[in-house]
Symmetry: C2
Subunit: 316 residues, 2 copies
DNA sequence: TCGCCGCGATAGGCCCTGTCTATGCCCATA
DNA sequence: TATGGGCATAGACAGGGCCTATCGCGGCGA
């Protein structure tokens, strides 16, 4: 059975006339005769009573025609819906973001994204790197903003911008008087995040500490960490986008001597079909952050720049 | 767009695997690859993200698949419904019957019809000959039981049985003492039905009277006519099937000298597709009435016997 | 690290079938 | 009886669906 034949059926039922229905369908009259006859043979039911004055639907046809109408209408709905789905910069876009980035980046880029792509419904999803990668691989996410280079050939990525690390000190800290802080000087009393946060590993590495170390504190969020520093429990490294809230908390921020940084990337499945959406999101984020970091953001060098000059893009 | 392609789409979405879906659909895997690709081109939307471990429906596919399911389900419903409509001895059967026949014939044949064809939903419709013929021609009726021969080549008919006329007399009538009544003897005080009833013309013709005559009374129903006769207002001719109610009303019934009768036929549109249903209904009615009339019923002589030996089948 | 395996895509050929034009048949009408 | 409208039929052609065979690619185990 064919949708085309069902459309023929509807046209004939509507016009009560093979010839007029054929014209309405844009085919010749014999075409309708043949096709309807085949449909009747398939169904085992006579659909029209042909007479001298056109064709009249039979009782059986009347009973079937409701289903026919619905089937054809749904087929049209498929075409219609597909048309609206055709724009890759429209529809749902599930974007994963790591917790040390989301609260500080999202307020900066959400409005520009909305303005540039009003039809793209971005659904942010905040979780740690490993969960986001798993979410990508099981199609729960369309893309993710990470600060590490993803593994495996099934994922592609583009570097968006470099985000410098800053030393975060209590105002009364002995290092607070310096203009720049040496990375190793923080090692003695550094506080870090809980396992799973990429920032934990990166901060420790920058200070030359082993991953296993880092003191007894395992802060579950950057906000907690900042509050601990503000309360004088120690120092930490924060990504530059978090500097606003840090200063609000009364923390002293200082640039690092070797200007360590992390590279923020957008990551997606290599086979994800809406590549345009990914690239547009990445482009707009990079644009908004351009000039933010000293090293600047490149923004569109897919599969390049796996390690920047600062070497902070440690794999997790 | 093709229903087959939509079934392919559903199979792939269900199995998450082109090969398994192909097997389920009974086609080869390349067939699905090609057809889905064409469907994607038609819709302008990527439906599946092909990966190393099968195929995953895209977001767009998820949005479309509801419509696809409905369309395919409706197509199946068409096939399913058609299967149940395939039996010509099932479904609605609108049967017109003239008023001088319906009240007396229906009680006799309804049970046998039901027993023989339990799936045939016979909807009786009582009206005068002209209305029934019009109803047939505008497809409001499927068949009709008439006592006249229909005109025009668009209608076919079969003679079912001959129904003798009987003289109906008040008990105190001067002719009541005779065993048989001469048709012309009724002419003096005969009462007849209103215009439009074929029995009116037939009764007048049998008595040798012009159609224009027949006295001032125009009874609107045979029951009224019988009550008028019973009350002594005159005589009339009744069809034999009405003899029971007539006798119940205290009327004297007598056979006619020339055994005038009318022929009951089943009439249908020559192009009506459910010929079997018509023939079965006619056969069962004839069977039930077999031996009822002295002359007997033939029951299946289509387009023959347009005039019986009694010559009572006057055209209207 | 190499080769195998699973999965989807591609190529080429066959056959079905949908469509056309031309024509026939039937019926209604003038 | 002739004519015209309406659907069915016939024959031919083209497009498309399906097949088998093969390729390309990525994953995985030896």
């Amino acid at each position: 059975m064919n949708l085309r034949d069902l459309r023929y059926l509807l046209a004939i039922a509507e016009h009560g006339h093979f010839g007029q229905a054929a014209e309405a369908c844009g085919v010749s009259q014999p075409t309708l005769s043949v096709q309807v006859r085949k449909l009747e043979a398939l169904l085992g039911v006579t659909l029209f009573e042909r007479g001298g004055r056109g064709a009249v639907p039979t009782d059986a046809c009347q009973r079937l025609i409701g289903h026919v109408r619905v089937a054809v209408a749904e087929a049209d709905a498929i075409l219609q819906t597909a048309r609206s789905l055709r724009d890759p910069l429209a529809g749902r876009f599930r974007l994963g973001i790591i917790p040390t980035l989301a609260p500080y980046l999202l307020p900066l880029v959400f409005a520009p994204l909305r303005e540039a792509m009003p039809a793209l419904e971005i659904e942010p999803w905040e979780d740690q790197t490993a969960s986001l990668l798993a979410g990508l691989r099981e199609h729960a996410l369309d893309a993710a903003l990470l600060a590490t280079e993803p593994d495996g050939p099934d994922l592609d990525h583009t570097c968006l911008f470099d985000e410098p690390f800053l030393a975060a000190l209590p105002p009364e800290h002995r290092l607070a008087c310096r203009d720049r802080i040496g990375e190793e000087d923080l090692a003695s009393d550094i506080l870090v995040l809980a396992d799973g946060h990429c920032l934990r590993e990166q901060a420790l590495a920058v200070c030359g500490l082993s991953t296993a170390l880092g003191g007894p504190l395992r802060a579950s969020s950057l906000a907690t960490l900042l509050n601990m520093v503000a309360a004088g429990y120690g120092t930490t490294l924060i990504p530059a986008l978090a500097s606003g809230p840090a200063e609000d908390a009364g923390i002293v921020l200082r640039p690092l001597v070797r200007e360590a940084s992390r590279t923020v990337r957008i990551v997606w499945r290599a086979r994800f079909p809406r590549r345009e959406a990914v690239e547009a999101v990445g482009r707009i984020v990079a644009q908004r952050l351009r000039g933010f970091a000293a090293s600047g953001a490149t923004g569109s060098s897919t599969k390049t720049g796996s390690s920047t000059k600062t070497g902070s893009s440690t794999k997790m």
